[in-house]
Amino acid sequence: MIDDYTRLLEATAELGDKAASDRAVTKLIAHLKSMGRMKMLPEIVRELRKVAARRAALRPYVEVAHEKEEAAALRVAALAGIIARHAVVNNSLIHGWRARSAGKLVDHSAKRALLRIYQQVTSA
């Protein structure tokens, strides 16, 4: 039941209608009260937090090795369907950029290329 209620609230939130979400929450609480199942509420909140965390991990995220690469990175990432407003500087990429969103990854970093070369050389 907890999963079902969580999924219901998740689907309502996806509509982007705050009033509708509020109504859904009010009705759910009233329903749980009437059924005497209020102790489910903390569980539902915990599940919703998990869903939110998972969604955050899958949101568009662009990293660049240097600030100067930001504009190009955002542009190319958008062409690949990953639309982000800003890029985060990550020096460990050495050069280039990488972008990910909802299970898609485009890795144009030198770090990845160097690792690939290393693995090819050491496993040859």
């Binding site: 369907g81 050495i94 050069h95 290329a113």
Partner: protein, 518 residues
């Protein structure tokens, strides 16, 4: 120097790697060798995924331990997938990036695997360096259909008299070896592998021994034995020891089958021993329970029968259009207290083309191999039996069955008529003659000659308890005095009139000499 540095810097600045979009996921939770992964929406069953430990580390950190950890997708769920971790599960952490590899679980196969010991992923574990196997082969595939197959008609000699005479195995057959712990199941399989040395290299099958959930010391001992007997020249050992993750133990037989199929598809013969499928079933049960699949009988998942049937169906004798190769399977099942009616034994008995049933009582009585002839059977092997063996071994099974009945009857009766006593003595002689120690498989022609001697009454002048010793003497005698007869039997695969006459003369002379000596 400066110019070189500038040049390289310029190259780096201008460098734009070509990388398309990859599908990735993120580890949501991990434990007990299973990872729950968010994302990977397009992943398919049995697809390989890569847990990437380098993604959120610097290059220097990543290079300290860049070895990839693979996973196998086994559950497709609404909001992600569950995968079994094929490696060190302690290195997998929440939030770790997982890449799809867009290929089903595959292993490298090729001739360079021969003589090697590998794990179920095809990685060498014998310390002899990398293999040169370049062909990637999915470890799960559909078995050949009816059209692609031919009848089993070529024998696979085990070198064990009792098996070759009464429960013959053909190339492409699936013959189960079943029995309690410590009754000699592995010995039969190993002797069969060793015996292939007596085959000519052109027809010698490539032997693949798959050790599932075994002690590593046992596997090491076995490899040493195969090496010392020269059998590793045509053998491959796939090992998933007891210390390996359940996923690898589950995969090991499929890896063995994939390697065997490679040779079969080249028109060659291959023999694969799965030692043992009971442990594989236990590993699969563990994985399935961790994957939260509903448990069924004895807590095994509902598809445990399909697990074994799809594995064993891959054994085949291909039609000549497909190259005529074959893959023979010798699965091993361990029973508890001789209970063949347990879940896994009955499943595998019904899948295979026969079974060699080893009994602890017979083993304790000193019979080697401890085969219970009554319930051991080969459903297709007799079609592959050579004319020579058919001729000499035709009645053995019936005579032995009659002997067992009389033997039971004998316990209640002290007075036996002469005919019954004669039959009992004949049965004892036959049992003694079929006794064969571990690690001494006999070439086919020698088996045929010895059984010929036994079934034609040449041992009748000796007391039953002396037959084993007499038989050994006979083997020496025939190798020394009648090599041409043995060669003729080996070549023609039958005992022709001329050979029979000479063989009888030699056997008469042997009996005369040894009876006098006795």
């Amino acid at each position: 120097m400066q110019s070189i540095i500038e040049r390289i810097e310029k190259e780096i600045a201008a460098w734009a790697p070509e990388a398309g979009a990859e599908e990735t996921g993120i580890v949501r939770a991990t434990g007990d060798g299973i990872a729950e992964i968010d994302g990977l929406e397009k992943a398919v069953m049995s697809e390989m995924v890569l847990f990437d430990p380098t993604f959120d580390r610097t290059l220097a950190e990543a290079l300290k331990d860049p070895s990839p950890i693979y996973g196998l997708v086994l559950n497709l769920e609404e909001d992600g997938v569950r995968a079994v971790i094929l490696g060190d599960a302690s290195k997998i952490y929440e939030g770790m990036l997982v890449r799809r590899l867009n290929r089903l679980l595959s292993i490298p196969v090729g001739d360079s695997l021969v003589g090697r010991v590998v794990n179920p992923l095809g990685e060498p574990v014998d310390g002899k360096g990398l293999t040169q196997a370049a062909v990637l082969r999915p470890i799960e595939r559909e078995a050949y259909g009816v059209i692609d197959r031919a009848g089993v008609n070529v024998p696979l000699h085990t070198g064990i008299k009792a098996v070759d005479a009464m429960i013959p195995i053909g190339r492409g057959q699936r013959e189960l070896i079943i029995g309690d712990r410590g009754t000699g199941k592995t010995s039969i399989a190993i002797d069969t592998i060793i015996n292939q040395k007596s085959e000519s290299p052109a027809t010698r099958p490539i032997c693949i021994y798959v050790a599932i959930g075994q002690k590593e010391s046992k596997t090491a001992k076995l490899v040493a034995e195969l090496t010392s007997r020269g059998a590793m020249e045509y053998s491959i050992v796939v090992t998933a020891p007891a210390s390996a993750p359940a996923a690898l133990q589950f995969l090991a037989p499929f890896a063995g089958a994939a390697i065997g199929e490679y040779f079969m598809e080249q028109g060659r013969d291959a023999l694969v021993v799965y030692d043992d499928l009971s442990k594989q079933a236990v590993a699969y049960r563990q994985m399935s329970l961790l994957l939260r699949r509903p448990p069924g009988r004895e807590a095994y998942p509902g598809d445990i029968f399909y697990l074994h049937s799809r594995l064993l169906e891959r054994a085949a004798k291909l039609s000549s259009e497909k190259g005529g190769g074959s893959l023979t399977a010798l699965p091993i099942i361990e029973t508890q207290e001789g209970d063949v009616s347990a879940y896994i034994p009955t499943n595998v008995i019904s899948i295979t083309d026969g079974q060699i049933y080893l009994e602890a009582n017979l083993f304790n009585k000193g019979q080697r191999p401890a085969i219970n002839v009554g319930i051991s059977v080969s459903r297709v092997g007799s079609a592959a039996q050579t004319k020579a063996m058919k001729k000499v071994a035709g009645k053995i099974k019936l005579e032995l069955a009659q002997f067992r009945e009389l033997e039971a009857f004998m316990q209640f009766s002290s007075d036996l008529d002469a005919d019954t006593k004669k039959r009992i003595d004949a049965g004892r002689r036959m049992t003694e003659m079929l006794n064969q120690g571990r690690g001494v498989p006999l070439p086919f022609e020698m088996e045929a000659a010895v059984i010929f001697a036994a079934t034609n009454g040449y041992f009748d002048t000796f007391p039953p308890e002396a037959v084993s010793a007499v038989e050994k003497k006979l083997q020496d005698f025939l190798s020394r005095e009648a090599p041409e007869v043995l060669a003729a039997i080996k070549e023609s695969k039958e005992i022709r009139e001329g050979s029979e006459k000479t063989l009888r003369e030699k056997l008469d002379s042997f009996v005369a000499r040894n009876s006098t000596a006795a």
